[in-house]
Subunit: 201 residues, 2 copies
């Protein structure tokens, strides 16, 4: 016995493909659209239809850009310092760094992290292009803004080895206690890093 009309079942199933959306959430989204007369499913439908054809990657930084745009505004903006490059794994890692409002250098997206288990070797990442940028743009500092994971650490180490003899400054994001977390609830590894990287007052 089909309790719901097929079109509604299809919509619930399609919502279910989103990350972290289980059957109950998918039902809730679909019900909302059916029940709410002001809901505009066409807007989401159009945004979904056009997304894959309307984004591209910046040729220099590999950040996401609008289709047809060769270079990201984050690179071409004359107010940004091209001699400082923050290296990130994914295009989406740029957003939280930009939100701090503290960084006015440029970005370089690797397109992933070195991971022998997932079969991702250094050749598949945009490391060669990073080395070219370092010499082309006379880069003075490379900030390795990578995740504090095994893959992030080993990718940082690999890049460090590649550019260590060029004499430029290589830094990475500080490890330590996140703001708002109590000392007693901090995990051992974070606390070890916070202790190692303790700062003189």
């Amino acid at each position: 016995m089909q309790v719901l009309p097929p079109a509604l079942n299809e919509l619930i199933e399609a919502f279910g493909m989103l990350p972290g959306v289980g059957p109950r959430s998918a039902e809730r989204y679909a019900y909302y659209i059916v029940r709410n007369q002001y809901a505009n499913p066409e807007k989401l439908a159009q945004a979904l239809s056009s997304i894959k054809g309307s984004i591209d990657y910046c040729e220099k930084t590999f950040a996401l850009v609008q289709k047809g745009q060769k270079l990201s505004g984050l690179y071409t903006d004359p107010r940004r310092d091209k001699t400082i490059v923050a290296v990130v794994a994914e295009p989406f890692d740029i957003l939280p760094l930009e939100k701090t409002g503290l960084f006015n250098g440029t970005y370089h997206v690797l397109g992933g992290l070195i991971s022998p288990i997932d079969g991702i070797s250094p050749d598949e990442l945009h490391i060669k292009e990073l080395l070219e940028r370092i010499s082309d743009d006379k880069v003075t500092e490379v900030i390795l803004a990578l995740n504090a994971s095994v893959e992030g650490e080993s990718t940082a180490l690999y890049i460090q080895k590649q550019i260590s003899d060029s004499g430029l400054k290589i830094t990475r994001l500080a490890r330590g206690l996140p703001i708002g977390v109590d000392l007693e609830y901090a995990d051992q590894i974070t606390l070890s890093r916070a202790l190692e990287g303790r700062q003189t007052l």
Copy 2:
């Protein structure tokens, strides 16, 4: 400075209109679709585009049906007992009742609950149609399967008054302890109802 391409911002904004989806979840959904080469946004786009034009309401029970279908399969199925009617507020309330597999009567969707605050009077609900069904289908039992809220209770009372002189059996869903909840954590109202409705063993 625009960090993300406009198409991606539009997609994030469109996801944000779903219930319970904040900016972070909307970003996560949009990023997943852009990042995952196997993601098929067209499927969701098509389901969204067609949903509003492809569902309708059953003329008898007001359950959701496919466009063009006059009566719900939950009503026309000869194996279902038309003399027992479960009255629910919304079409989506049918699903959990069907999932129990214990009910083989038919449903009647009111299309809401009486609520003076929201300006919903009995005339706006499908109560007249329920009274017609009661006489047409020779209904013997009406199960008021409404929420245990103020609106649910007062709607149940209103319907009870309308049909009390017709001599048919009027029941409502049992109130009591939900399965898996400890006595010590049960709220006072639930426990009061469980005590009032105690069953002889």
